[in-house]
């Protein structure tokens, strides 16, 4: 089929759409709905885990098996609608402008922000039957003391995906973004955190380096890498499948997603590596916003996703390991020939995680990114 691999990348689609509705969130934000901080009492509301209405979940695209959602609908006789975001700032913008979601999927660094702003309901783990299946590493993670507001969802890493039928000389380094045989066919993630992060690591700096001298060098690295780029994209699967990208800076789940969609191509030509200079790792969570309309149903939903059988099914769909006892075999099956896509709790402890930058630091990073792209 001619359209093979040119399928609309839903993540990018959401991003474009997000801009088009920005006006409306600006409007509500300006009307004072987007308060700086919620009240502390609202956070402590006690919610029984029973059905109290339909659900609206707010998630990345292609990040949860739709069959799990319909299974939940059948089991509890409720409707579940899904809305998508394409970046953490856009999720925050929607939340701050007063939109009511029942379950959200923030990354660890954003959990920290949401907790500080009193925007997440406290979760009583006693009410979650499957809470015991969560790895103990997440009993008291750095981003949410005593895991009071969140349960973990998935663990991920960033690396390089490539077409083994086209590219030669892959070396296990971030330098592979400057592979000569793929010059002009390389895509970098269109995400300033990931872009600057990998260049920091390649230069031997801390992933979150903000020192001006270091950032100046990182900027040079990004400019050198740009010579090899065909573009910036957060849409690895269609780019790799269509042959637009021979090398794509990507998340580990992207490669599973790509292989799942390979159709008339051999899935084995799509490879993924992590890089020896350092690997950005991270984890994200499920949480219930304080203004959720159906927090009781939402609790049941979290429990549903944490169920090891459901988690195993979910992993086959999104391709990321989940920190849930009993789901390991499912991921091991995906990672059989691909140890690079694995992320373990050890990696989370020893690997580099994106930290939350201060306003000044974030501005410095954004400036580097703009200077490179200008």
């Amino acid at each position: 089929m001619m359209l093979d691999g040119n399928g609309i990348g839903r993540r990018e689609f959401v991003r474009g759409g997000a801009g088009l509705v920005l006006g409306s969130s600006l409007l509500t934000a300006g009307c004072g709905v987007g308060q700086e901080k919620g009240s502390e009492e609202a956070v402590k509301k006690v919610v029984p885990a029973k059905v109290d209405g339909d659900l609206l979940i707010f998630n990345w695209t292609e990040y949860m098996d739709p069959k799990l959602i319909s299974g939940f609908e059948d089991r509890y006789k409720v409707k579940v609608r899904t809305a998508n975001f394409d970046s953490m700032p856009s999720m925050m913008a929607k939340l701050r402008s007063g939109n009511e979601y029942d379950v959200i999927f923030p990354t660890a660094d954003y959990v920290n922000r949401l907790v500080q702003a009193n925007m997440l309901l406290q979760l009583d783990r006693e009410k979650l039957k499957n809470a015991d299946t969560i790895y103990s590493f997440f009993d008291d993670p750095w981003y949410d003391a005593k895991s009071a507001h969140t349960v973990p969802y998935a663990m991920y890493t960033t690396g390089i995906a490539w077409r083994d039928d086209k590219v030669e000389g892959i070396s296990g380094s971030w330098n592979d973004l400057m592979n000569e045989s793929a010059k002009g066919k390389v895509f970098m993630l269109d995400d300033f955190q990931e872009g600057i992060g990998q260049a920091n690591l390649l230069n031997g700096f801390d992933l979150n380096a903000t020192d001006p001298a270091e950032l100046a060098q990182t900027k040079q690295t990004l400019e050198q890498q740009k010579e090899y780029l065909r573009g910036y994209s957060t849409n690895a699967a269609p780019q790799l499948l269509s042959g637009a990208a021979w090398i794509h800076h990507a998340w580990n789940g992207d490669i599973i997603n790509t292989r799942n969609q390979a159709k008339n191509k051999d899935p084995e030509i799509f490879k993924f590596e992590t890089c020896k200079e350092g690997i950005p790792v991270g984890s994200d969570c499920m949480a219930i916003p304080v203004n959720a309309k159906s927090p009781g149903t939402a609790l049941l939903f979290l429990d549903w996703i944490l169920d090891p059988v459901n988690a195993s099914q979910n992993i086959q769909y999104h391709g990321y390991p989940m920190p849930i006892e009993g789901s390991e075999d499912s991921f091991a099956e995906l990672a059989a020939d691909d140890p690079a896509i694995e992320v373990s709790v050890d990696d989370l402890e020893s690997g580099s995680q994106f930290k939350e930058l201060s306003v000044v630091e974030r501005k410095a990073w954004d400036r580097v990114w703009t200077e490179v792209k200008a």
Binding site: M2, A244, K363
Partner: protein, 277 residues
Amino acid sequence: MNDAFWRRFLVPGALWLAFFFAVPFGIAIAISFGQAAEFGGVIYGWHPENYADALDPLFAPILLRSVGYAAATALLCLAIGYPVAYTIARFGGRWKNALIALILLPFLINYLVRTYAWVALLSDEGLLSNIAGRPLGIINTPVAVIGGLVYGYLGFMILPIYASLERMDPALIEAGKDLYGGPRQTFWHVTWPQTLPGVLAGALLVFLPAVGDFVSAQLLGGPDTYMIGNLIQQQFYGADNWPFGAALTVVLMAFLMIFVAFFLRGGRSAERREALA
């Protein structure tokens, strides 16, 4: 009927403008003087330094590129749109309305979806490359970005030109011929001046949204096609710095308003010259 009666009809339009332009723009201005909060969001206040940041020469090449792409888009739309409008207006006959409806039809589909269609058509293994028998290499280049803009905004050029052609009295062309004007002379001395207001309106309607567009560059662009719209979007949804994004927006608006003022003044004097000639 007195003036007071007719003035009532201004109310819906004025309300529309107030709610969907003045109020949101006021909010954007308020945000542009705020400060980005540590945990995201905006702290309102008086921080004119956002504007000093927005006027940084770093952004000049991005703005110039955007203006260049938009100007190229407007010229291409004129080159494509004028003959189309002319053909429909002069030779459309009873099919006129149907033909105009056909031109409007794609606009019923979201611009984003239509741009994705171009991704599929232009990509290395897409329809056009298949027909050509080799990858065309158009996608991820400025050509693709400008092409996406032309496609996206062409209708805004055709409609005003069509309207001004429709308004024109065909007897004028007859008169031109009667005065021994050849087809070319008649066009440049009769038809073109008559439709100049439509051309100017179309040029503005295409140029203005094209300058601020971010969809085409994001989906069809390459490493060197960063536009001002992409930069503004990055401030809202990447860097989480709404005040700076809002300040950039206001500066862009101011720049475009000055441009429009000069453009319209230039247009009017051109019309006057034509009228005297």
